[in-house]
Symmetry: C2
Amino acid sequence: MASEQPKEVPTDPAIASSSGPAAEDPSQPSKKGAKKAEAKAKKEAEKARKAAEREAAAAASSSAASEDLAKDNYGEVSKDKKIEASTVPLREIGEEHIGKSIKVRAWIQNSRAQGAKMVFVELREEGNWTVQGVVAANSEGKPVSKQMVKWIGSLKLESFVSVEATVQKPLEPVKSCKVSGYELHLTKMYLVAPAPEMLGLGLAAASRAVGKLDDEEQTEGVEGLSITEGTPVASLATHLNNPAMHKRAPISQAIADIRIAVEDLFCEYLRARRFKKFHPPSLIGAASEGGANVFKLPYFEKEAYLAQSPQFYKQFEIAGGRKRVYCVGPVFRAENSNTPRHMTEFIGLDLEMEIEEHYHEVMHMLEGVLLHIFKGLAENYREEIELIRSVYPSEEFLLPEPGKEVRLTFAEGQALLRSEGPPEFANVRDDEDMSTPQEKALGALIRKKYNTDFYVLDKFPVTARPFYAMPDPENPEVTNAYDFMMRGQEILSGGQRLHLPAELEKTIRSKGLDPNQPGIKEYVDVFRSVGVPPHGGGGIGLDRVVAWYLNLPSVQLVCDYPRTPKRLSP
Amino acid sequence: MASEQPKEVPTDPAIASSSGPAAEDPSQPSKKGAKKAEAKAKKEAEKARKAAEREAAAAASSSAASEDLAKDNYGEVSKDKKIEASTVPLREIGEEHIGKSIKVRAWIQNSRAQGAKMVFVELREEGNWTVQGVVAANSEGKPVSKQMVKWIGSLKLESFVSVEATVQKPLEPVKSCKVSGYELHLTKMYLVAPAPEMLGLGLAAASRAVGKLDDEEQTEGVEGLSITEGTPVASLATHLNNPAMHKRAPISQAIADIRIAVEDLFCEYLRARRFKKFHPPSLIGAASEGGANVFKLPYFEKEAYLAQSPQFYKQFEIAGGRKRVYCVGPVFRAENSNTPRHMTEFIGLDLEMEIEEHYHEVMHMLEGVLLHIFKGLAENYREEIELIRSVYPSEEFLLPEPGKEVRLTFAEGQALLRSEGPPEFANVRDDEDMSTPQEKALGALIRKKYNTDFYVLDKFPVTARPFYAMPDPENPEVTNAYDFMMRGQEILSGGQRLHLPAELEKTIRSKGLDPNQPGIKEYVDVFRSVGVPPHGGGGIGLDRVVAWYLNLPSVQLVCDYPRTPKRLSP
């Protein structure tokens, strides 16, 4: 029979049930009374008993109390320990809640006892929303026993609790909490999920800059970390090996929120310009771009490879009648590079579009989407950026003035390096790709000269580009292809692609490849099979955009679950 | 030097350049005149010459024309063949354009000559926007020569052209085109990308229902295709082997647009409810869920696996302090199943959320997001749905009345099958998972009884669920886990997960597994390392939702690039 369940859901015993009955405080004092001196001291006993009764009535928490009047208001969560008040997320607490009872579900971030009758508890919800909770033994209104106070004070940090509390104005703002204008006077607290005796990584260390980056090579870029003496600093490996605590740190949540924003801003900008989303495959039948650095796996009776980019598939979409497409998904590189820039799996933000007149239409679209992203971050994520800067200091990311985007040709970049760069780059060539140190040196020169951290290098030499790059018709040594740079590091590669099969075949042959070899043939076949308009595009590394925008020491601090030659877990 | 390029981009020779000069018509007639009868017939000759001149002046296209006055207005695109008019997408043509000159870039979908002086050309843009173009020899206004008409008529179907045209009202609506209220009087046409002599798959066949599905097994579900005799019908394999033409068909674009909408509606609904996006990894260090049906690959000195689901990572996000998360990305199954329901790689729409009181909070959220998707499709994709139905007929997808969602327990479903289902299901058991035929039979029973194609099966038996499923505390034989069904086929699996490490370890052992074995240990460790609140979620197969909503014969018609045991390309 179909049940027509109300939207108000019942309490499920699977949540209430826990590893046993509510923990009773073993230190609960035993009854005191006037038992021994039966006859003689009857009067005194009576007096003492009455005094005890008065005390118990006045304060259930009294050490003389024979009964814990608050015993149903704390302990491990169970079926009959309920909170009737409505849940109010910490970020929504306002004046209208003052004096009202609310329900909060949160982690215990910190707690501090003040004598035996009072405990301060810092409660945390998603996104670093913290509030000060206070619990003091009293018997007015809802009773709070001394046992209850003691139990709350004994809970392990990072335990998850369900709380009933009255919202109050604190005497002065609680500086240590994001919710500083209100505090919670706790009336009930139930333990939903206990934390272990020891945390592998505490919140304090998780909230600080990482110390050692995994490898020797990864130490580049760590300069500028302010590590206070005496405070524990965890290595990147320790962070990643403790994913739950690493992620709970406010800085991690801020980085993750900015990462989401970058992806959303990318999609939003393109959707508004009639780009259509699609999903390229990860499994492909042949190593499309030469076979180097590609993961290979047994696939039933055949072999499969993991796609190094959605390049061919973006172009198939254009051939298939789409004017503009984009995709967001993982790409794979079997490259044994242990640097703060490389991962073996990362999220690519890719687009491809028809060109009407000139490939700079594409370049301008890519500039447009990135400037939209930077604008969106600066406008809506100031708080997160400042929080991240308090841990990883960085200079403001400089943008070109609108309409004054900085675009150098590759040759102009090399000329600048030769004339004004460090002496070791006095002889860099226009027909050889730039090294990472060259890129960084050029980035510094451009920052000084043009006051921007974001710029384009256009017209890369043919030797530095794959076979599908459209050569410049006026200079066959270079291509209609570009890289985009942030703080001197590449975050995007793109350009115009060859769209006529005869020219495509010619270029493939000139690179020493065969247009009919596996992986390439099926690509060329698409252009042989239909007329395909001129088109171009680009691919952006999501984690790099975030890392270099924030000047973080590694893309591994951005990726949700980084994969490197040495790391496949968690 | 940094160039400050204007947003108006120049024409790039890389687009203008093509495989040669504009094709001249070899059949151009030779001059006729009065050459032979020089003396005697001078008068007649003069008369004829004047007549020819008049004709040439009146119509440059005349067979007597000595010169092709329109020669710059057609041919292969080149640097100096330019169209100054502004581009107007076909979907935007309106009354304001009548009599005006516009530029259009489109594929030639069809062409038909009317005598030697006139050709009708159907032009198509993305999304099946088609318009009728007309070109007729004339010398008024912008000259159109007979040669130009002939050249246009000779272009291969599916060539991509750039066109200048004057917008006119047709005498009567052009029924064969989506833009029926306007037609284009062509004044220039340049060939941007020629189609080949022969198409591997023509648009007519690409627009029809597929014939043979790849395998014997795949023929289930093909009933109901209306295949007109005499019209070519291509197999699914032919479609997929010709991706460009397969995708150009209006039905493919409609299916792809609906697929995008499903994903967007999913994300939109969850974002509005404070779900945070994240990206789980594809590469994992151990086969997490038992090791069956998982792709394995060499990974530097180790081995890696491709994730079968983002399950563990969604839970890590909850452990990491997020209240609600979702993700969209590929998952992999090394299952040798050649059916219309299975692919080896597919896009999963996944969510996970904290539970406050009862796991039905999650179930209701999943119902909510799916109903939001169905509502969005019915409201905004009526035209696409009708187009798809004209090729793949289907009955309207029935939804429950709001507030009357149909939710059966697994045991109730089995009881219904036993009592009212086909005789072969008279003895189905409550402690054994349903087979696909059982599911379909139950779907038919529920449609008849409750008038819905969308319903939930709750409380699956423990035997049919993985180790992380939360048992029902009131009946340890079943779990707090459910499947969602569309037209009798599963599209979602989900439920509450175990969140306390002791209970998790116990269940893992009861399934014959070791909580400390690779792949499982690092999962359990997260719950050991911090307190994690109760939580649950579900995973939706994107392609199945689209396929079963539209009653398509295979998920391979939905996926952009389907992967099956037999297909890894294109």
